[in-house]
Symmetry: C2
Subunit: 262 residues, 2 copies
């Protein structure tokens, strides 16, 4: 009997600069790290390096602050520049502790629309990738065209488990993989049929990789996740919506939105 194990391979890189070709650095670093890319690999990429090479750095002194942003900044006790950038990202602001606002961005509940003041040069904010699904797809295609391998891509950002200290990894974009694993119709240990259970595969994989990426200067923006699970579907045809749960049915967001949106 072969027991399927999971291997997580950290890919250390040079300091990535905004004019760099991200896929070139990935492939070069994979080789320097003594690895090769294989069909079926899941490559988790830190959103910060995608933002950087997509030139999503935003100088604070270039941001024009609207009246609306000023009002919201006062209401939420948060930097008006950050508020303006959140508005410009078309994110819905829910609110929260000063400086850490719950927002809904591309349908994803997240902190400050995934805009980051750390891992950004002084005097700048780093915006999230413009269209993370498109970025993931593009990187997947580039890898295919250069090395001929079919991989899945997950773009990981930081999130939190409600009520817990510290950050976990959450997927904000993906390509080549179905984000959930379905247990509908399967049976549990006692033969009971599961009614609705699904497993959030991409956030689980993003979180696994986050253990190696760290948040500081580790310079590990890529992690290869390698395991065989016949229940995970590698597929071309994926959409952002595949990972989103209706917010009015979400155990956390339903409790928040019944208050805020009514």
């Amino acid at each position: 009997v072969v027991f399927v194990r999971i291997e997580l391979l950290p890919i250390k890189t040079q300091l990535i600069k905004e004019d760099d070709d991200l896929v070139e650095i990935l492939l070069h670093s994979v080789s320097l790290n003594g690895q090769t890319i294989r069909d079926g690999d899941i490559i988790v990429i830190a959103s910060t390096v995608i933002s950087l090479t997509e030139k999503r750095k935003k100088a604070i002194n270039e941001v024009k602050i609207s009246e609306k942003a000023k009002q919201l900044a006062e209401l939420h006790k948060t930097d008006p520049v950050l508020i303006q950038l959140i508005i410009d990202e078309n994110a819905e602001i829910i609110g929260g502790p000063p400086g850490f606002l719950l927002t809904i961005w591309h349908g994803i509940p997240c902190i400050n629309a995934c805009i980051d003041a750390t891992n950004a040069p002084l005097g700048c904010y780093m915006l999230p990738p413009k269209d993370p699904m498109a970025s993931a797809h593009r990187i997947k295609e580039e890898i295919k065209s250069v090395v001929g391998k079919d991989v899945a891509i997950i773009i990981a950002d930081s999130g939190v488990v409600p009520g817990k200290r510290g950050t976990i990894g959450i997927a904000i974009g993906f390509a080549g993989i179905k984000p959930i694993k379905n247990y509908i119709g399967k049976k549990d240990l006692y033969g009971n049929v599961f009614r609705v259970t699904q497993q959030n595969i991409i956030d689980l994989v993003a979180s696994s990789a986050e253990l190696l990426m760290g948040e500081a200067d580790e310079r590990i923006p890529f992690v290869i996740v390698r395991f065989e699970d016949t229940n995970i579907e590698f597929t071309q045809n994926v959409h952002l919506e595949d990972m989103l749960f209706p917010l009015d049915k979400c155990i956390f967001m339903s409790n928040i939105l019944t208050k805020k949106r009514k």
Copy 2:
């Protein structure tokens, strides 16, 4: 240069029964799986098998339903038996979609106080471990006394990432490991000092293991997580509170509780 990688080793077992000795089965199965336990291993254990061997099965027809439970069941459109069990667990009921109530149990925001109708025999609910911190500590000590190895234990239950489909793994108890990794005072890629960043190590590890455990009849209640990270502290002196974030500062829970508790 040695690049630290992570190995996740699934430990498949026989069907565990309520009179079984969990540590005996773990150690026997580790050996049958061709593994040995090493110092520094993190062993993730599914809460279901701890509940089972702690005889936390509850027959539905033995539950006495109070007036309060009846009222709350009507309010939340949820089985009064489940409500009564949640009350008996001393959990705070916040509310949510019918059948899936957000609760705060042992300080942890979770679904239905971690009481489960799946993975329970017909006509029963499975209560969570009575005191998950104590269970984790006891299992750690038993392993130490039998094989002489110092391991960390994480007890994993199911949680969700707000707004995302499917479940992830969340830690409800732990022993021998500091639950968070601190970046306070460290520097990011650009030399900026991090103000408050912490990484939620135990939920990341629990989620990694969840990729192998699955939710159905895989019979993999144990996963050994093996990697070297000098930033992870193995320590005896741990408390439940070490993993809990003040709810009034949590980006999700602060938005919920300002409504419910005022």
